[in-house]
Symmetry: C2
Subunit: 338 residues, 2 copies
Amino acid sequence: MKLKEFAKQLGLSPTTVSRALSGYPEVSEKTRKRVAEEAVRLGYRPNINAVRLVTGRAGAIGVVMGRNEFQFCEFMSGMAERLDSEDIDILVSPVADQDMKAELQLYSRLATSGRVDAVIIHSPKPNDERILLLHKLGIPFLVHGRSETNVPHAWLDIDNEGAIRRATSHLLDLGHRRIALINGRDGLTFTLHRDKGYREALEQRGLPFDPRLVTHGQFTDEIGFRSARSFLEQSLRPTAFVAGSMMTALGVYRAVRSVGLVVGQDISVIAHDDVFPYLTADNMVPSLSTSRSSLRAAGARLADLTLQLITGRPATEIHELWPVELILRESTGPAPDA
Amino acid sequence: MKLKEFAKQLGLSPTTVSRALSGYPEVSEKTRKRVAEEAVRLGYRPNINAVRLVTGRAGAIGVVMGRNEFQFCEFMSGMAERLDSEDIDILVSPVADQDMKAELQLYSRLATSGRVDAVIIHSPKPNDERILLLHKLGIPFLVHGRSETNVPHAWLDIDNEGAIRRATSHLLDLGHRRIALINGRDGLTFTLHRDKGYREALEQRGLPFDPRLVTHGQFTDEIGFRSARSFLEQSLRPTAFVAGSMMTALGVYRAVRSVGLVVGQDISVIAHDDVFPYLTADNMVPSLSTSRSSLRAAGARLADLTLQLITGRPATEIHELWPVELILRESTGPAPDA
DNA sequence: ACAGGAATTTAAAACGATTTGGATCGTACA
DNA sequence: TGTACGATCCAAATCGTTTTAAATTCCTGT
């Protein structure tokens, strides 16, 4: 059913009907109500593509998905939750991991194709080309994470630095002196922030920083396992691990067991938990101490902020830094006697 | 840059330019080439919303994402891989798990809003209301999984029945007689198929089916753990587990260890693996025997089939059943002596 | 040189909404 | 009574393409 036909059935002009449905003020309350009711009864819905053409809005937010990111679904779920009351879709484009050229091209296509009103950038670097590109192309965008890139941009991030500082500090409080950090991919801002938090905790006690106790890599069980194994094989092995993700922690647990040690007794573990419904720190054996921040909530909020950005709120106003909880469970305990 | 302006610069009519770019035959090769080159040079790209309005195509495929599905990202990645050469987007809508009413409403909105050209249905039931609804609404759709719903529909599925039959058979070959099955959510076709495969393997040996050895539930580590624990606490405990997913298997491993037994020795485990880059069966300790089928490949193929469906291939022609590999690793071994 | 037909090209009509700039209707006030 | 003004409503222009139907150009064979 088209607007013209629907309007005729109501005995009104298309103009009035359109206005009534879009909430413009120059239509009487009585008419608006009647239009709304009849629209439901007759099942009239504006053709979305016509609306998009004439308004110039795309009605969608673009997100670029790396190939190996298990976190992505959770984030998107959050976005979608917030968006489903609006008439805004989520458009997903995939890109091969660590292929910056392909990724830039993709963003460029996305921005110029008019398919999306805004895009979201994940895992930025301190100096991120994508941010420069999108700024230059003039499309609204939001950064999930932080960057030092020298153009104004909106961002939302969690306090990675504080999270890891506190986790490390807590392990130090428990008497651990050799603490290994299995961090994220090198060069990304959040990885750097976590490195920084780790060092700060050491510095606060006047303890030296040993680069042999830190590794970088993707958040997979395999990397968690390998890193932990190689740490445990060092002559002076660490007594505690700070792991970058739940998947990493799985690998760490395995590595610890594989050398005949016990998590929570011989080796303490704290991991960062993005809160997944299908893999919970509480259910691990022993239950896993975590720094926790809901990725789903971040997705929802980021969607919200994106809507604000689209409707004109200046990007320079949009900066949110979320605190991270530290939740202690059984995987952390006092350092064993040396 | 608009078509009109671009055409004027070329000294051609909009019609010819449009045709040249869309590959219609009634334009000379020389002109086509010139138009294509100039389009790149001047950066002309048709306004996507205008195209969509006039052609009536939405240029997007809709997928509905349940909240707790970690598999989803992997599937979507596959779809996206196939789609990124086409001018077709993926539109993601979330829905609360197990809320069929909300889900039906969502599909209905999706189908009538004109935002998508086709939708994909996941995890169907033998008698699936969504299939009936979409058929009634007349929008093209593809089912990932199978259904006995009595309307013609396209589908792609893996051979769940055969996979679990073979896994169970193999455990029987190894001498196991009490084999527990930790299956998926009750009522879904793939769950029923897996149940069936399990029973068939038993029947083939003339062994009785014991319903106390089968549980149903979501694919989470928690459910894996709880189910396995309760099995292991039975007076006559099973010596082998067939687990529905990698997450489930994580829980099973934990449960086995928590009662002081050893996977691969006291207890054999086979799980179904959808092939995730961040959690691999090979890296588990002991490495996990799996029935394996790439979810990413399924996503890519399903995207492909969806394109075919949209361009007119009859749904009744589109039926694919994929075989599942059985990969034996260290988690399976001969049954311990009774 | 010219008819006939194929190969190109084009003008103009969709597609289905929003929005601009007026029109109409009542009501209140001088 | 006439005017001004606010409250409603409407006709027509517009968004940027594709596509239909018709016009033009270019060959080819006689």
